[in-house]
Structure formats: structure tokens, C-alpha cells
């Protein structure tokens, strides 16, 4: 267990007020306020085997054939190799009938990695408790993807789920590990839609809805201490089946126990749509 500060939405809008914003490349322009932070206990659940079915997240051993994971999102051939691996992993772990990737791998770095971040968009870890999508943006993403796949009609499936597959690409210890919230402890009424606005360099802006949260002492926060690049944390970001874990809120946090001078954490994530009839 570790005690650390995490950040919830502290200014949820009242009825009729505009949706809060989170500007990924210039957080000072965000209307969302997440101060002051909240000290919480984050349990190391390594060894307790959380599952996608129960908590909404699961740790999976996987060694990638990609020799240098930092080369992802920059080498199209490696991205494809990694994509095929993760598609196969998700099929195996979930038993889904079909899995489609939602874009390629995305690298993220702690804020101190300025030289790395300079060449990437939306690549800092999000420092607020969030779910990757709202109901609206989940449907937008799933239908957008389905519109690119021949003969794929979501209505022909009984269940569709969006997943995030997250892997550190630097060895432990990590200064900014990922904390995940047991989906069973999340009350829908504590979700606050937040419009993330991210810069597409050289083009414009891209907006998508995420779920922020207000603080809730019932949230059970978990992490896997010392994750290695040979481990993938798979978690649900939207499940159309109301009897299943709906969404795992998550946030990067600063581990107060990480030795000073440790190189900042880097990670790679990939999102996918899984389907069942």
C-alpha cells in the first residue's frame, strides 16, 4: 500500500453550466479545476489477481517481439507488429469474437521528459481521475471505427467493449505509476463529463469527451508495484453490458517512495474495440 495525492474535479458545473474542459497541451487554459488534491490509499494488488470481469482490470504477462518499445509511434512496421500482438492478446484475455484496434500505439512520458515530449502530441500522463470516454464519445469512437470496417455493424453484436492496454516501457521503479479504480466502487453520479481538447500539431484541435470524477471515499484505488515492460495492464474503458464493470477510472500519481533521480516513467498504450454476439 502507498499513500499518494490524486486529483479529482473540484468544480463540477451546476445544471445548465457548460461542460468543463481539459486542454492537454496547455493545462492553465482548462476550466476544470482539480486542486486541492486528495490523499488516498493505493493498494498494491499484485498477487490478488484482479480480473476484467470483477474489478474491470487485469494484469497480463506479455513479452513483445518489438525489440525497442520506445521506437513505437514512429516506426509504422513496428506499430503493426505491436498492434497484431495486442489484438491477439486481447482476444485471448477476453474471448471476444472480434477485436479492432482504435489507432496505433501511443507513447507517454512524465512531464520532466521535455526532449521526448517536444515531438509528441497529447503525450503527458493525465493527472486527473478520469475514464477515457463518456457514453457519447464511446459510441462516437465505436461507430467511427465500425464505419471503416466492411460489413461491421455494431447493432449485430450483443455486446461491445472499449479497452485500454497499458504497458510501461521503462523498467521499475516508476516515478509516476498508474493507479486504477476498482470499477465496482465507482458511482455513476460522481462522474463529471470533461471535454478534452488536444492539439493536433500542424492541423488544429481535436475534442473528445472524457469522464472526470468528484472525490468519493468509496473509491478503491489499486496499482501494481514495479510493473515491467513485460506486463500489460488491460482495463475496461466502456462496456455496453450493464451487468459488467462499466469503466475503470484511472490516473497517474507520484509515488512518494520512488528514489530521487529515477528516470521518468515512459509507457505505451493501445485502445481497441472488442465485440461479442
Amino acid at each position: 500500500m502507498v499513500r499518494a495525492t490524486i486529483h479529482y474535479v473540484t468544480n463540477p458545473p451546476g445544471p445548465g453550466e457548460p461542460m468543463l474542459t481539459y486542454v492537454t497541451e496547455d493545462e492553465a487554459r482548462s476550466t476544470m479545476c482539480v486542486e486541492p488534491g486528495v490523499d488516498v490509499e493505493i493498494s498494491d494488488v499484485r498477487g490478488t489477481n484482479p480480473t476484467l470481469r470483477r474489478e474491470g482490470f487485469q494484469l497480463v504477462d506479455h513479452t513483445s517481439a518489438v525489440p525497442d518499445l520506445e521506437a513505437l509511434e514512429g516506426d509504422a512496421d513496428l506499430d503493426r507488429v505491436y498492434g497484431r500482438e495486442m489484438r491477439s492478446l486481447l482476444r485471448d484475455v477476453t474471448g471476444a469474437e472480434a477485436v479492432y484496434l482504435l489507432g496505433g500505439p501511443k507513447r507517454r512520458y512524465g512531464e520532466s521528459a521535455t526532449a521526448k515530449l517536444e515531438h509528441l502530441s497529447n503525450a503527458k500522463p493525465a493527472r486527473y481521475v478520469h475514464g477515457d470516454v463518456t457514453e457519447t464519445s464511446a459510441l462516437q469512437q465505436a461507430t467511427g471505427l465500425a464505419s471503416m470496417v466492411p460489413r461491421l455493424h455494431l447493432r449485430e453484436y450483443d455486446r461491445w467493449v472499449l479497452y485500454n492496454m497499458w504497458r510501461p516501457i521503462t523498467p521499475p521503479p516508476h516515478d509516476h505509476p498508474l493507479a486504477v479504480c476498482d470499477a465496482r466502487t465507482i458511482a455513476p453520479r460522481h462522474r463529471v463529463p470533461v471535454l478534452a481538447i488536444t492539439e493536433i500539431r500542424g492541423f488544429g484541435h481535436f475534442e473528445f469527451e472524457t469522464n472526470g470524477h468528484v472525490a468519493d471515499p468509496h473509491h478503491r484505488w489499486c496499482w501494481f508495484r514495479d510493473m515491467t515492460p513485460d506486463e500489460v495492464l488491460v482495463f475496461t474503458t466502456f462496456d455496453s453490458d450493464p451487468t459488467r464493470p462499466h469503466q475503470v477510472a484511472h490516473t497517474a500519481f507520484t509515488d512518494p517512495g520512488c528514489p530521487p533521480g529515477t528516470p521518468t516513467r515512459a509507457s505505451v498504450e493501445l485502445r481497441a474495440l472488442a465485440l461479442w454476439t
Binding site: L102, G104, S121, G144, S147, M148, V149, P150, R201
Partner: protein, 276 residues
């Protein structure tokens, strides 16, 4: 390096007779996934003898396993001139000649021009344009021997409108189109055809184009949203079976067809009579 060959000479199910005469010998380049795979399997099912050429051996073998007619797999890297020429030669040898070349290899990048690197430009041109030139050059003597046909998959995005975030890709397809027209002019004894493909993401299952891996989720969704808002996207996707029919039509025609297009069906009209 020589292209290596495997194949099924005993089809899983009897092939349907060709609708346009005797079996044609066709090399499909870029046949391990996407539209190339759909075309290769479709021609094979129609009774043509098909060589499937692509880089990825495992996927080629799986495609050949699914072919209902005569099909062989030959590894081919179109960005390696020597390897590509050897693979085309191997296809001609294995099939006993070559009546047609179908070039469907293509890579895409979804990215603003402001961040598109020289490496990305080079990668796209290497496969989409130079690879097509290399494969054609290698196939030329075989096609001349049969008065054969060459068909290239081009894109509607190079024909109409401006597609932001696809600048490098559409430039390669426009270059490909110009190159095909020149081949056609320099070799009137052969048939060179541009097959313009509308909105498409390949065929079902393994034939689906691996588009997901080619952009970050942000760029992919930005692209989809932008193209939709600008009215560039069609109501649906090209049916891969229609594409097979178009290729078969060109191959079976005595006329040399410069351009043929396959686009998705139009959106249904509001208020259209529902019958009676």
C-alpha cells in the same frame, strides 16, 4: 534472393468456371491483406490461377489456405527491386506465364503535412509508386508475351476534393495515376487500367485493411470527423465483391480500359417510396 513459393494445387472446393473463358494467370501484389487479398481470393474462386504476392509469409499462407481455386503464395517485398523482380519471375514460372498483374500494395499515413517526415514520404512513395513501377517492369516481358493486362488500385481521394491528414497518401496515388497513364502510352500493346476505389477498408476478417495501426487514436478520430464534416466520406464502404467483379471485367474485356471506378452505393433518399 529468389521468391519462395508454396501453393495449393488441389483446391478445397471445385472452382467455379471462369465467366469469361479459360483460366487466366494472375499475379496479385499486396495480397496478404486488404483489398488485394479480397481480389486474389475472388479471382481464384472465379477459376483464375492466382499467385498471391506480399511480404508477410504467415498471412499469405493463410490466404492461400482459404482460396477455393488454384492459388500459390510467393513472398515479395516491393520495396526491394531485386527481390520483387525475382518474385514476379517466380510467379510467371509457377503459373506457366502471366496474363495479368494486379498491383494493390499500398500504405497510408494519417498525419498533417506539417509533421510528416521525409521518412514517411519515402516509405509511402516506395510502396505506392516505386513498388508499382518495379513490379510492372518485372512483369513487362511476361505480359508482352500474352498481350496481358495490368491493373492498379488507385484511390478516389486522389480524384476529388482535398483530404486533410492524407496529404502524403493522396500525393502518392496521384503520382501512381500519372505513371499508369504513361505506361499505357508507352506500351499500347498492353492494357493498363487505373481502378479507382472509393471509401474502403478492405474486406471482412483478415482482408480488413490494417488501418488502425497507421495513426494515433487522436489522428484517426480527427480524420474521420474532418472527412465526415467536409462531406468527403461516402455513405458506406466499397463492397469487396464489386471490386472483384470490376477486376474480372477488365481482365475479360477485349478492350483496353484506361479507368474504372468502384464506389460505395449512394445513401438512400429520404422519403423514397418503400414499394408498391
Amino acid at each position: 534472393m529468389n521468391g519462395s513459393v508454396t501453393g495449393t494445387n488441389e483446391p478445397a472446393t471445385p472452382p467455379r468456371p471462369s465467366t469469361t473463358g479459360p483460366a487466366r494467370r494472375v499475379a496479385v501484389v499486396g495480397a496478404s491483406s486488404g483489398l488485394g487479398r479480397s481480389i486474389a481470393l475472388g479471382l481464384s474462386a472465379r477459376g483464375d490461377h492466382v499467385a498471391l504476392l506480399a511480404r508477410r509469409r504467415d498471412r499469405l499462407d493463410r490466404a492461400v489456405d482459404q482460396a477455393s481455386g488454384h492459388a500459390i503464395a510467393i513472398e515479395c517485398d516491393v520495396t526491394d527491386e531485386v527481390h520483387c523482380a525475382a518474385a514476379i519471375a517466380a510467379a510467371a514460372t509457377e503459373l506457366g506465364g502471366l496474363d495479368a498483374l494486379v498491383y494493390s500494395s499500398g500504405v497510408i499515413a494519417i498525419e498533417p503535412l506539417a509533421t510528416t517526415s521525409a521518412a514517411t514520404w519515402t516509405r509511402l512513395f516506395a510502396t505506392n509508386v516505386v513498388g508499382a513501377a518495379t513490379a510492372t517492369r518485372a512483369a513487362l516481358p511476361h505480359l508482352r508475351a500474352t498481350h496481358g493486362r495490368a491493373i492498379y488500385l488507385s484511390s478516389v481521394s486522389a480524384q476529388s476534393g482535398v483530404w486533410p491528414l492524407l496529404g502524403a497518401y493522396t500525393a502518392t496515388k496521384a503520382a501512381l495515376d500519372k505513371m499508369i497513364d504513361t505506361w499505357r502510352d508507352e506500351h499500347p500493346e498492353l492494357g493498363f487500367t487505373r481502378l479507382i476505389v472509393g471509401d474502403s477498408a478492405g474486406g471482412p476478417g483478415e482482408s480488413a485493411t490494417q488501418l488502425g495501426a497507421d495513426a494515433s487514436v487522436d489522428l484517426l478520430l480527427t480524420g474521420l470527423d474532418t472527412w465526415q464534416r467536409r462531406g468527403l466520406r461516402s455513405h458506406g464502404l466499397v463492397d469487396p465483391d464489386d471490386l472483384v467483379s470490376a477486376v474480372a471485367y477488365v481482365l475479360g474485356s477485349t478492350a483496353s480500359i484506361p479507368v474504372i471506378a468502384v464506389t460505395p452505393p449512394p445513401a438512400p433518399m429520404h422519403g423514397a417510396p418503400s414499394g408498391g
